[in-house]
C-alpha cells in the first residue's frame, strides 16, 4: 500500500443531494453546458485531486434506486460521461478522467475504443467506471432484452438476486474483452518504415478472438494501444458479486463503508472476494466513497445538510457514509479509514460547486498538513499517480 492516500471526486449533476440544484451557487440551468463541467474539472485539478469520475446511465435518474418516477423537483438528464470527459481532456493536464460507461447494453468494441481514445487525448489520464445496468427502464431503451424489476426486499443476504448475477458475469466478460482490445496493438506496432513502405508491423497487431457465454468479439481494435497500456478500470461495489467483478477485472474498487458494513468489514469482504476469484498480480485498490457536506465560511456542514433536507422534505440517505462537518473532522474520518488500509477516498460533494470548493480549499490542505495526502503535484499518467505499474506487459507480445 502506498504511503499517501489518494483522493478523487465523484461528479454528478449539481451534486449528490437531490436538492443541491436549488442552492444559490448551483447553476442549475448550466448543468448541460461545457463551461459548467470545465469549471468543476479545473477546480478539482487545482486542488490536486488524483481523479474525477462522472456518473452516467442509460436512463433518467430516479429518487429510489429501484423505481422509475416522474418527479420534477430533482435533477433529471445527463450528458454522455465519456464525451464529457473527452471535452475535459484538453482543458486539464494532471487530473485523471474516469467516466462511467455502461456495459450491459453496449458494445464492448465501442467501449474499448472510446476509453482508449480518451487515454490518447488526455495523454494517459483515462480511467473507466464500469457500470452494470439492472434497471428495466434501461433495457426498454435499447429494446433487445428484458430485465425484470427488482425491489429492495429482493436483496437479502450479501449476494444479488440470480438474474443480476448473470449480468455481473457478463460484465466480467466485457471487461476482459475491453482489456484484450487495448492490448490488441503492441506498443511498437506502428513502424512507418519508408524503405519497405510498411506503415505497420502486422505481426504486432492481434485478433482477440474472445468467445464467451454471452458474445463473441474478434478484434483487433481500430485504436492503437492507449498510452497507459491499460487505462485504469474502476467499479462501484456494495455486495458480493460486484466485489468479485471488481476483483476479477478492475484496478480499483469504490466501496461504501457504513452502508455495506463497518469499514473494516468492507475491506475484509473485498479481500475475500479477491481470494475467491483467485486474483493475482497487483492488489485491488480499495477506495471509500464519502458524501460530504463541509463547513463553508458562512454555514456549518450540519446546517447546510439540515437546510437541504428541509428543502427536499426528507432526511438524506445514501448508499455510503454521509459526513457533515469541518474539514478537520472529515480528515479525522478519512485518516481513520486510511489507517485501516483504504488506499483512497472518493468524495461525493453534496453540492457540487460548494463542496468541491471546500474540498479543494479546506480539506485537501488539512490532509496535506497531516501528511496524509501527497504534498506536491505530479504530472504523468493516471496509473503513475495511483502508484500502479506504469509499464504494463502486453498479453499478446512475444515473450
Amino acid at each position: 500500500m502506498s504511503e499517501h492516500l489518494h483522493l478523487g471526486v465523484a461528479l454528478d449533476g449539481a451534486g449528490w443531494h437531490p436538492a443541491a440544484w436549488r442552492e444559490p451557487g448551483a447553476r442549475p440551468s448550466a448543468l448541460f453546458t461545457p463551461g459548467y463541467w470545465a469549471g468543476l474539472a479545473r477546480t478539482a485539478e487545482r486542488g490536486g485531486l488524483d481523479l474525477l469520475t462522472i456518473e452516467d446511465s442509460l436512463a433518467l435518474q430516479t429518487h429510489d434506486a429501484f423505481r422509475s418516477d416522474d418527479r420534477t423537483d430533482e435533477v433529471r438528464g445527463r450528458l454522455d460521461a465519456l464525451l464529457t470527459a473527452s471535452l475535459l481532456a484538453p482543458l486539464t493536464s494532471r487530473i485523471g478522467l474516469v467516466p462511467t460507461v455502461t456495459v450491459t447494453h453496449t458494445e464492448p468494441f465501442h467501449v474499448s475504443k472510446g476509453i482508449a481514445t480518451l487515454d490518447h487525448t488526455s495523454l494517459g489520464r483515462a480511467g473507466w467506471q464500469v457500470k452494470v445496468s439492472g434497471r428495466p427502464a434501461e433495457a426498454e431503451h435499447v429494446g433487445r432484452r428484458e430485465i425484470r424489476p427488482v425491489a429492495q426486499a429482493d436483496l437479502v443476504g450479501d449476494g444479488l438476486p440470480p438474474q443480476f448475477v448473470e449480468l455481473f458475469d457478463e460484465a466480467a466478460d466485457v471487461v476482459e474483452v475491453v482489456r484484450r482490445l487495448w492490448d490488441s496493438w503492441e506498443d511498437d506496432a506502428e513502424i512507418r518504415d519508408v524503405a519497405t513502405r510498411r506503415f505497420l508491423d502486422r505481426d504486432k497487431v492481434h485478433a482477440v478472438d474472445f468467445e464467451g457465454r454471452f458474445f463473441r468479439v474478434r478484434g483487433p481494435s481500430i485504436v492503437p494501444r492507449p498510452p497507459q497500456g491499460q487505462p485504469v478500470v474502476t467499479a462501484l461495489a456494495h455486495r458480493r458479486e460486484p466485489y468479485e467483478l471488481a476483483a476479477r477485472g478492475a484496478d480499483l474498487v469504490f466501496v461504501t463503508p457504513g452502508y455495506a458494513g463497518p469499514a473494516e468489514q468492507v475491506l475484509a469482504d473485498v479481500a475475500a472476494a479477491a481470494e475467491r476469484v483467485g486474483r493475482t498480480g497487483e492488489p485491488l485498490q480499495v477506495w471509500a466513497d464519502l458524501v460530504v457536506f463541509l463547513d463553508t465560511p458562512t454555514e456549518s456542514g450540519a446546517r447546510r445538510k439540515a437546510r437541504l433536507e428541509e428543502v427536499s422534505g426528507a432526511e438524506y440517505t445514501s448508499d455510503t457514509t454521509v459526513f457533515a462537518g469541518s474539514a478537520a473532522e472529515a480528515a479525522d474520518l478519512i485518516g481513520s479509514w486510511h489507517a485501516l488500509g483504504y488506499h483512497g477516498v472518493r468524495l461525493r460533494p453534496a453540492v457540487a460547486v460548494d463542496d468541491l470548493a471546500a474540498i479543494t480549499g479546506d480539506l485537501v490542505p488539512e490532509l496535506r498538513g497531516r501528511g496524509l495526502f501527497r504534498p506536491d503535484e505530479q504530472a504523468g499518467s493516471l496509473r503513475a499517480r495511483l502508484g500502479l505499474p506504469t509499464v504494463v506487459p502486453n498479453r499478446y507480445a512475444a515473450v
Binding site: 442549475p28 453546458t33 470545465a38 464525451l83 471535452l87 458494445e107 490518447h120 429494446g143 483487433p220 485504436v223
Partner: protein, 452 residues
C-alpha cells in the same frame, strides 16, 4: 441574387492510400495534437465544419491486416468532443454507422456532443451490411444488405424522435419554485418499427441545435431520395461539371418533392488539393504525390479489390492481369466499402480503357482511382472552387490534404483569403451553431408544443 457562400468542410486524411505517411513532415494519425492542429487551422480559415470518417474493422488482405497504408484511428465522437474544447465555431461532423449502434445510445452521444460544443454537432450516417466488420460486435453482422436503407431510415427517424422528445422549455431549472422539469414526462418516447422497438424517456435535454446536422452519401436513385428526404447535406461524388450540376439539380428537385426547400439540403463533394506557385509547378507536384500514393504494390491491392483474387504475381508496369475476377469467391480484401459492385463488367471496361489509352496496370489505376483534386496556383484553385459552386455544381467542398496534420495550412493561408476577397467565404463567423454556419433554417425550440 446575392453571391452563394462556399461551404467549406475539412477532412483529416486517414485510412487509405492517399494519406502520405511516408512524407518527411507527416505527423501522427492518432495523437490529439494532429486533430487539434487541423481543426484549429480550419477554424482559422472560417471553415463550416471538420469531418471525421470511421472504420470499425482494420482492413485485411487475404486474412492479414493491411500494412502499406495508414492503419488505425481514434474513436470518432470522443475526438470531436475533445475538439469542442479547443474550437469555438467550427462544426464537428462524425461518421457513425447505423448498423453497429443503437438509437438510444447514439442519439444521446450526438445530443451530448451538441451540448458540449454549443451546437456544432453533425452526424454522417452510413450503414453497413458487412459480416466481416460484424465480427467485432456482440450482435454481429445482423443486417442483410436489402435492409440497409430500412435500417438507416428507422435509425434516423428514431434518433430524431429522441432528440425531439424534450422541448427546450422542459428544462425549467426554477430553484425558487422547486421545479427542475416543467413537465413530469419530459423526454418520453415510443418507437416501433421493423428494426427497433424502444420506449421510455430520453436523458438529454434539447440540444442547442435542436437536432444535430445530418449528412449522408447517396448516388443511386434510392440513395438520392433517402438523402433528399432526411438529410441536411449530401456528399456528392461529382467534382466537376456537367455531371455535378445534374446531380445537384436532381437532388434539390427531389428535396422539393418531399416538401422541403432546395436550400434545406446542401450538396458537398470532397476533394484534395495541390498548390504551386505556377500551374506547371502544381501539376508537377501533383504527379509526384500520385506516384508516391500509387506504388506498384498499392496499384495491385487496389485492383485486387475488384478482381477479388491474389494479383501479387503481376507486374505493375505490365498489362492488366489476364485472369478473370472471382465475383463469387470469399472477399480477398476485407473491411472497406466496395468501389464497384459489378466486378466482371468493371474489368471488361478497364481492359478497353487500358487498350485505348495504352495504359499499363499502374497507369490504369492512376486513371481510374482519380479523385479529381483541385490542382493549380492559389488563385486558380480559388477560382475553380468558387466558379464550381456559383455554377451550381455544389454548395461547397470538403477539402483535405494528403499530408497530415499540416497539409491544410497552405490552403488556409493562400486560398481562403482569395475566396474571402471574392465575397464567397465569410471573414468572420456570424452565428454560433453549425446550422448557422450552413445557413440551414432554425428548428423549433419546442417541437412537442409545435405539434400539439
Amino acid at each position: 441574387m446575392s453571391r452563394k457562400q462556399v461551404i467549406l468542410g475539412a477532412y483529416l486524411g486517414g485510412v487509405n492510400h492517399h494519406t502520405a505517411w511516408w512524407h518527411p513532415e507527416a505527423g501522427s494519425q492518432i495523437d490529439f495534437s494532429s486533430f487539434e492542429h487541423t481543426a484549429r487551422t480550419a477554424e482559422r480559415g472560417r471553415f463550416d465544419f471538420f469531418f471525421l470518417a470511421e472504420g470499425l474493422a482494420l482492413r485485411e488482405r487475404d486474412g492479414r491486416v493491411f500494412d502499406q497504408d495508414i492503419v488505425g484511428r481514434p474513436d470518432t465522437l470522443p475526438v470531436l468532443a475533445s475538439l469542442a474544447a479547443v474550437t469555438t465555431h467550427l462544426g464537428l461532423a462524425g461518421t457513425i454507422n447505423a448498423t453497429f449502434n443503437e438509437p438510444y445510445e447514439l442519439a444521446r452521444q450526438l445530443a451530448s456532443l451538441d451540448h458540449l460544443s454549443g451546437g456544432r454537432a453533425a452526424w454522417n450516417v452510413v450503414t453497413s451490411f458487412d459480416a466481416f466488420t460484424g465480427q467485432n460486435f456482440r450482435r454481429g453482422g445482423f443486417l442483410d444488405r436489402s435492409q440497409r436503407y430500412e435500417r438507416a431510415a428507422e435509425m434516423i427517424d428514431a434518433v430524431r424522435t429522441l432528440w425531439d422528445s424534450w422541448d427546450a422549455d422542459d428544462l425549467a431549472a426554477d430553484a425558487a419554485a422547486g421545479r427542475f422539469l416543467a413537465r413530469p414526462d419530459a423526454g418520453a418516447f415510443d418507437v416501433k418499427g421493423n428494426q427497433f422497438a424502444i420506449r421510455g424517456r430520453f436523458t438529454v435535454p434539447r440540444s442547442p441545435q435542436g437536432r444535430p446536422v445530418i449528412l449522408q452519401a447517396g448516388v443511386s436513385p434510392e440513395g438520392r431520395d433517402f438523402a433528399a428526404s432526411r438529410s441536411d447535406a449530401i456528399f456528392s461524388p461529382y467534382g466537376s461539371l456537367p455531371e455535378a450540376a445534374e446531380f445537384y439539380r436532381d437532388v434539390k428537385a427531389r428535396a422539393v418533392t418531399f416538401g422541403r426547400s432546395p436550400d434545406d439540403i446542401k450538396i458537398l463533394p470532397s476533394a484534395s488539393f495541390v498548390l504551386g506557385d505556377t500551374e506547371a509547378e502544381a501539376q508537377e507536384l501533383y504527379r509526384e504525390v500520385r506516384n508516391q500514393q500509387v506504388t506498384g504494390k498499392t496499384a495491385l491491392i487496389l485492383l485486387e479489390q475488384i478482381w477479388n483474387r491474389d494479383l501479387s504475381g503481376y507486374d505493375p508496369e505490365g498489362p492488366l492481369p489476364d485472369v478473370d475476377p472471382l465475383p463469387d469467391a470469399p472477399p480477398f480484401i476485407q473491411g472497406r466499402a466496395l468501389v464497384q459492385q459489378d466486378r466482371v463488367g468493371t474489368v471488361a471496361r478497364w481492359r478497353e480503357i487500358a487498350e485505348a489509352k495504352k495504359l499499363n496496370l499502374r497507369e490504369l489505376v492512376l486513371d481510374q482511382f482519380e479523385r479529381g483534386p483541385f490542382v493549380g496556383t492559389p488563385s486558380q484553385v480559388a477560382e475553380k472552387i468558387d466558379s464550381f459552386v456559383q455554377a451550381d455544381g455544389a454548395d461547397g467542398v470538403i477539402i483535405g490534404s494528403h499530408l497530415v496534420p499540416t497539409g491544410l495550412d497552405e490552403f488556409v493561408d493562400r486560398v481562403v483569403p482569395l475566396l474571402q476577397e471574392r465575397g464567397s467565404l465569410r471573414s468572420e463567423y456570424t452565428g454560433t451553431t453549425l446550422r448557422d454556419n450552413l445557413g440551414l433554417p432554425p428548428l423549433p425550440a419546442n417541437p412537442g408544443k409545435a405539434v400539439s
